[in-house]
């Protein structure tokens, strides 16, 4: 019988707004702190690891396999292999899924999985034509040839490509992620007011949960000042509905409802989880955080990517013969308030259930009071490659605090996917 997968323990760095305190800290350095601290706190011999799997989206040029660089810097011995995985916003969950696959196949007993993302350090790029021009300059022999190449220079060659913006735009449907949220806001008639209220609650819950969140956070002492950062930077004290209401729609200036205030923040951060098999979990010195019951990734139209959590949740629950109502606590990543609220509407809609989930009834209710109880990405931020793992960690930590048995964490994925994990504690 193949082994179940356990999430033994986990930590994360504080999440900090891009351009903030982690401006000078690359993804592999954020990841290094999370990994080293997790190994150190767990008193585990890193030589026992079978693999290190990290999610990362921006893929820094100087560390093509971020995971390997992070692992070695964190003191993981050289013989332990490392791989970086990329499923856009679900990369952190993909890492845990990959770990679980290896464990159930009997190919690993202990895997360090997680994600690391520095959105601060996503570079500006030159257009391809500039490279072509430089190349022809190098090849030009003689003054005349060189002069000819020079004459072909146009200032437009130097126009920067903003990799961050390009990364957040879907190449297939041509929509920016915020624009896909506008699509859902219209489809499910989510008003600006409801979005702002949801965003406000996210901030309030994150602030109220500060002490609880510290239990999963390792303080960072980032270069160059090395001053301690021990809380997420995103949550805003004194955030009001009025202040949110004053913001202009960002993606559709005339008719839109999605603002920077009711969208997730662009953020730096890293998460590390230890994932083990049954035997490792049984011998673990502390009670494991929880075990993975089921997980699923689902695909849908890129323009409606925000509904991914509903599709993935249905797909993850079915093989476990579970209903949504049997889950006691929920995390849905807050890419956009409109998108989360659309998921809630879709889940409770019988029509949606029949048409898109192949069910005879609605998927069920995500009760607001048991969803994202310590705030979500609108307040905490969304370091894309790491968030998926953060949801699992935050959910399990809260289940432990509340003594709950079952929870579900789900995420929408740019490009038209969804991811969901069903987790249990004994």
């Amino acid at each position: 019988m193949s082994s179940r997968s356990w999430i033994l323990s986990g930590v994360r760095t504080p999440f900090a707004k891009a351009g903030g305190p982690f401006r000078a800290t690359p993804a592999y350095e954020l990841g290094r702190v999370a990994l080293a601290e997790l190994l150190s706190r767990s008193d585990v011999d890193p030589a026992r690891l079978d693999e290190v799997i990290l999610g990362n989206c921006a893929q820094p040029a100087e560390a093509a396999n971020v995971s390997r660089v992070t692992a070695l810097r964190a003191g993981v011995p050289e013989p332990v292999p490392a791989v970086t995985v990329h499923r856009n916003c679900a990369s952190g969950m993909e890492a845990v899924a990959a770990a679980s696959h290896r464990i159930s196949a009997g190919r690993a007993r202990l895997v360090l999985a997680g994600g690391a993302e520095s959105m601060s350090q996503i570079p500006l790029q030159y257009p391809l034509e500039y490279g072509t021009w430089l190349e022809s300059l190098m090849r030009a022999k003689g003054a005349l040839a060189r002069l000819t190449v020079f004459s072909r220079f146009r200032p437009a060659l130097l126009k920067p490509r903003i990799a961050l913006a390009e990364g957040l735009t879907d190449l297939v449907c041509g929509l920016n992620m915020g624009e896909t949220a506008e699509v859902l806001a219209r489809e499910f008639r989510i008003t600006r007011e409801r979005q702002d209220e949801f965003a406000l609650a996210s901030h309030q819950r994150a602030l109220a949960g500060r002490a609880r969140l510290r239990e999963e956070i390792v303080p960072m002492f980032p270069a160059p000042g090395h001053e301690m950062v021990q809380d997420d930077v995103g949550p805003r004290e004194g955030q009001t509905l009025e202040a949110l209401a004053r913001l202009k729609p960002y993606f559709d200036r005339k008719n839109g409802s999605v603002t920077v205030g009711n969208s997730c923040q662009v953020t730096d951060g890293a998460v590390a989880l230890l994932v083990g098999d049954d035997e490792t979990a049984a011998r673990w010195p502390t009670p494991p955080l929880g075990r993975i019951v089921s997980f699923a990734f689902a695909g849908l139209a890129p323009a409606r990517m925000g509904l991914g959590p509903v599709l993935a949740a249905a797909k993850a629950l079915a093989p476990a013969r579970l209903e949504l109502s049997q889950c006691e606590l929920f995390e849905i990543n807050e890419a956009f308030a409109a998108q989360v609220l659309a998921c809630l509407e879709a889940a409770r809609s019988e029509a949606f259930g029949r048409a898109e989930l192949g069910r005879t009834a609605a998927l069920g209710e995500f009760p607001l009071e048991r969803l994202n109880v310590n705030g979500g990405a609108i307040a905490l931020g969304h370091p894309v490659g790491a968030s998926g793992a953060r949801l699992l960690l935050t959910l399990l930590m809260e289940m432990r605090r509340r003594g709950l048995k079952r929870g579900l964490a789900a995420l929408c994925v740019g490009g038209g996917q969804g991811a969901a994990f069903v987790l249990e504690r004994d």
Binding site: E29, R32, V33, A36, E37, S40, R41, D43, D45, R73, A74, G75, V218, P219, F221, A223, P224, G225, H226, E227, M228, Q230
Partner: protein, 724 residues
Amino acid sequence: MPVFRVEPAADRVVHLIMDHPSRKVNVLDVEALADLERALDEVERLERPAGLVLTSGKPGSFIAGADVAAIGAISDRDEVLGLVRRAHASFQRLATLPYPTVAAIDGVCLGGGVELTLACDSRIASEEPRTQIGLPEVLLGIYPGFGGTQRLPRLIGLPAALDLILTGRALDAKRAERIGLIARAVPAAWLMERAHERLELLTTRPEQRRRDRYRPPGMAAWFMDGTPFGRSLVFARARAATRARTGGHYPAPLAALEVIERTRGLPIEAGLEIEAAWVSDLAIGPVCKNLVRLFEQTERAKKEPVATDSSVQALPVRTMLLAGAGTMGGGIAEAASRAGIRVRLRDLNPEALTRALRTARELIEERGRRRRLPSRERDAQLARILPTVELSGVARADLALEAVVEDLNVKRRVFAEIEVRIGPDAVLATNTSSLSVDALAQGLARPERLCGLHFFNPVHRMPLVEVVKGSRTSERTLLTAVALVRRLGKTPVVVGDAPGFVVNRILMPYLREAMHLLDDGFSVGAIDRAMRGFGMPMGPFEVLDEVGLDVAQKVAGVLGRAFPERVAPAVLLDKVVAAGRLGKKNGVGFYRHRGRERQPDPALRALLRLRRPRKSPNLDALAERMVLVMINEAARCLEEGVVADAGWLDLAMILGSGFPPFRGGPLRHADSLGLSRVESRLIALQAEKGDRFRPAPLLARLAAQGGTFTTVPRAEAAPAAATA
């Protein structure tokens, strides 16, 4: 067994291979020099070879230089001169072979080894980091005497040659190539192939043979080397820099300068003769003997096995817990992370962690800039330090070092917390400067795994670490601690668990004596000048300001309680601290500090109600009083067995307190003064100033027997030239 082998190789090339049969590394000792003559006979008999490659039979190590022990032991000038002339003759024979010669260097190539390669037409070296090429003779109180002063300036030009000879620094192959000391830096794997190619090049294009000789690369270089005016400028500048660096206490660099200047333009045979004469004078002088002894003692500290039981093995330290990120924390964390050790740095106060990380980072950056290390390496080093406010990550530490506040109860609590969490094999260490290791070991479940690791401040500059052996410290613990200190690039000296250990124990009565002198009406400036004149890098009050007066007060208290008859309570120090003067760290102590500058403080006299300072004090008499106190305390340390022997004590004082190396340490200095003279001066001072000058029993005993603390080589009067 021959030292040199002559082996035929492909293409009629002959290999001259040095492989000393009775040594681990090649050393040009008497046996080697004699065998070189035999080998050259053999080479000269060969039927017209195409070329010769000089190389080493020791893998990864070329020639480590001359026989240092022999230099330390030799005391007959004619014997030295004979040996040097013999080497000169052999090297000349190598230099005048009628076919091309190449030295193929892989590994250390120092002193006489370099000079032997200079007798070849061309040199190539492996680019591995183990290859270090340099002329460290001045560090031993002599200068390159096997032709170095003659051949090096001819090869690389005057300014570069003076730099190497006067500082004694070693170069890696890349840098040696840049200044023309070697022709090419090559991968070690292809060393011999490249050597043969080089020979071929020299054969087919004989002008290349001359190209390995110096040619000024530009106008400026030509001016500095090729014109009498430029040369005199270079010499004047080098002389001034050397004077400033050595304080005129070290004859060797000045003698080297003199020899190079005088022999400039002379035929090589005449130059070699002058080189031989002057270096023979230096080699039998006291400074050379003291520096050689210091070198040998340092080698002992870095290599000699510590355990008496050879089955006991040191625990390799991969991860260490450093509890306390105070003044020392950042420095120790930097040193450990540089050695590849992962440091769990724990402090309850996040601001202390911030400061320690900044210190570590500044040190890493500074070193990185100096050595042009890529930022990747600097970042990787800093990434080995993992700060935390929690006591976690202890279980996997191989060694836990505490550097928390100097408070017995706090330290005991820290060790209690650590001991229940750390693995059973791990070693515990304390960085205490004033508490007893035995007292700290009380209450530990396994007291045998505790020892002291007393680092000095600032950690990155101070080479000494006192490894304190408590009465219950196990061999394994001690061995692990000593191995760690060596890995950090520091020099360990094992000391007993006595108040102040060795350095502070001897330093404190000396500093106290400086305060007595202040009471007696001498000025702070005069007292400091007296000791700088003696050769200390800083005077006593400068030292006090540097370490911090509150820290000094604490150490003074400990030693005052332990030895009340010699270290009286320093009322003066209490007053200064009470007035809020803490030394350099808050800008005012015995001096006023602004940045790196310090100025006398006129307000001090009123504060301490001192007498008006005496005019034109006799600085030598002041220095004598302070030095005698040190010698006397050193004798007590030795007698009580706080250190194993006089060599260790002198080494600790030179590295830990800045005692002038050319004087050989307090005990060697006492020997050269003559112990009966030391004793009679102490008795006289005892009568005049009180019992703190009572001669130590060991000193009195040795003086009565006509004995000495150290083994003194038969010293002869230093010739005038060597002390110029």
